[in-house]
């Protein structure tokens, strides 16, 4: 089966600015794909180009087998989009909003209402289905936005920062909801976010872009393994400059920095905690704990973005 999204050498220029610069990607069907990068990296431009809201300067795109922009109308029957705004009508109540979008996607009123009620129930909005959207909280509006994108049972959903503006608890709850709904419906999700724990929690594979260029691609685990440098936190007192020099002299030590608990030591190879302990004690430091930090995806992402700055 062909991929849900195929992008070859996509370039998007706006005057002097190049928002997307030679991007090539493949997104397999039935996966959650994280599209990451710092602000202004070209994420939203890529999404808008893929759904036919922005014209590419050059390159080739296929979404669910449809050429973009040649077959955008047919493609839109199977694709939905959630941008930073939830895209729902404030004057209408939550249920009517979903019914309206059901009609836009050619659903019968009966089917639209039934599906809308089921989604509102799943997302914990059943008690406020008759409340005007303008009176809902930011988190509730976001959830309604998610319900809107899933209403027509699309094959592909673009979610552009779905948890932006939510507090940690609401964001975690919404993440759980998205994970559950994606699992149940088996759809493909193209997700952009600045919340890296969201990526680790939801994404099967990830692409990182910066200044419109692809700089890394793989699963979150692969990227974490490929890019992150091991670090060790040393909880210690009486750390003299001589102790720091002794640590710096150890093989494989890339950098040493003080923090309020003691030291952070970054390694370019597998850390040797015993040698580190000996060097510090030898320099009269009082070491109470040495904690190995495995880095993880967040550090890998930051390293990737910094390396290419």
């Amino acid at each position: 089966m062909d991929d849900a999204i195929e992008i070859d050498d996509l370039v998007c220029r706006f005057g002097e600015t190049t928002a997307v610069d030679g991007l090539s990607l493949r997104v397999p069907r039935g996966t959650v794909f994280g599209f990451l990068g710092p602000n202004g990296a070209g994420k939203t431009t890529t999404i808008k180009t893929l759904v036919g809201l922005s014209r590419a300067t050059s390159g080739r795109m296929r979404v669910l087998g449809y050429d973009v922009p040649g077959q955008t109308r047919a493609m839109r029957r199977e694709v939905t989009l959630l941008l930073e705004s939830p895209g729902v009508y404030d004057k209408l109540d939550a249920l009517t909003n979903l019914e309206v979008f059901g009609e836009f996607y050619g659903m019968t009123p009966h089917d639209a209402t039934a599906r809308a009620k089921a989604l509102l129930e799943k997302l914990g909005l059943a008690s406020m289905m008759k409340r005007r959207v303008g009176k809902l909280s930011t988190g509730e509006r976001r959830k309604l936005g998610i319900a809107r994108t899933l209403l027509s049972k699309p094959k592909l959903v673009f979610l552009d920062e779905p948890t932006a503006g939510l507090d940690a608890e609401a964001a975690a709850a919404l993440r759980d909801d998205i994970a559950q709904l994606v699992r149940e419906d088996g759809l493909t999700v193209f997700l952009t976010t600045h919340h890296l724990e969201e990526v680790e929690r939801l994404c099967d594979s990830v692409a990182v872009i910066r200044a419109g260029k692809l700089i890394a691609q793989g699963s979150p685990r692969e990227l974490a393994a490929r890019s992150s440098r091991p670090e060790v936190t040393v909880v210690a007192t009486n750390v003299s400059d001589a102790a720091i020099e002794a640590v710096r002299a150890l093989p494989g030590v890339a950098s040493v920095a003080r923090n309020d608990r003691g030291l952070i030591v970054a390694f370019s190879e597998e850390p040797n905690s015993a040698a580190l302990n000996r060097a510090l004690i030898g320099a009269d430091a009082d070491v109470s704990e040495i904690v190995r930090d495995h880095g993880g995806f967040e550090r890998a992402f930051l390293d990737l973005v910094r390396e290419t700055t």
């Binding site: 808008k48 759904v51 036919g52 809201l53 014209r55 973009v68 922009p69 955008t72 109308r73 839109r76 029957r77 694709v79 939905t80 989009l81 941008l83 930073e84 705004s85 939830p86 895209g87 729902v88 009508y89 404030d90 004057k91 209408l92 009517t96 309206v100 979008f101 009609e103 836009f104 996607y105 050619g106 005007r132 809107r148």
Partner: protein, 244 residues
């Protein structure tokens, strides 16, 4: 198209076209132009038995004032969706561009028509109750029809403006500006060529009633063709925005 009409009508009847008076907005307009104005004019003595006026003019106001409302609803068609962050969501739906444009135009006209007909009928009744002479229903029907045609024409222009305007206010401002330029331009033209116009009007006035009816039908046809052309232009613009 029906989906768009239903959506827009639901929004306006739920929250008002201007959003200032909530769900009761259309009732406020109907009460204002259908009841308050006729009573006010009668009490002022500008219409009613003591005014000396041959007919009541409140129904005509009731027919024409909602044109402004129609213009406002059309201004909201795209600029309003842009302001509220719902335009992109709408543009990526599988609805055709012509369905969106014509649906929004029909919804705006229908909303204005409900208010126009209600205010015209109500103000006729209230004026009559207050003692003014009644207006021939055929004249009132023709007035509402002309007002609707005018609302349709201005609304179609406003839809094109609304697509390019960043906000509803700027869309309304742009139409007002266009309107002022047209009115000032036409009035200057009329003043400068008054004699020529009289020469042109002479054969028109000599047409007789049948000829005048034919001329009126021609003008109506011209307005309808203009509306169709403007909506076609708007559809092409939207197709460009959606890369269709």
């Amino acid at each position: 198209m029906i989906a768009i009409i239903r959506k827009d009508m639901r929004e306006w009847f739920a929250g008002g076209a201007t959003g200032r008076y909530g769900q009761y907005e259309f009732l406020i307009y109907i009460a204002l132009f259908g009841i308050v104005f006729p009573i006010f004019f009668s009490l002022l003595g500008t219409e009613g038995p003591k005014s000396g006026a041959s007919v009541s003019f409140s129904p005509f106001i009731g027919a024409f004032v909602p044109i402004l409302l129609a213009i406002y609803t059309m201004a909201d068609a795209f600029a309003g969706e842009k302001e509220r962050g719902t335009l992109e969501t709408l543009l990526v739906t599988p609805l055709s561009s012509s369905d969106i444009v014509v649906g929004k135009w029909l919804a705006g006209i229908s909303y204005a028509a409900v208010i126009m007909v209600s205010t015209t009928v109500l103000s006729s009744i209230v004026s009559r109750v207050m003692g003014a002479r009644s207006v021939d229903p055929r004249i009132l029907a023709a007035t509402v029809a002309i007002a609707l045609l005018l609302a349709g024409l201005l609304g179609a222009i406003e839809i094109i403006i609304s697509m390019r305007a960043p906000t509803v206010k700027s869309a309304v401002f742009a139409l007002n500006l266009t309107f002022i330029i047209i009115v000032v331009g036409l009035s200057q033209l009329l003043l400068r060529t008054a004699k020529t116009i009289a020469v042109f009007l002479a054969p028109v006035l000599a047409l007789g009633s049948t000829g005048l009816v034919a001329l009126g039908a021609g003008v109506i046809l011209l307005v309808l063709v203009s509306i169709a052309l403007l909506l076609w232009i708007a559809t092409q613009q939207l197709r460009g925005m959606r890369l269709e």
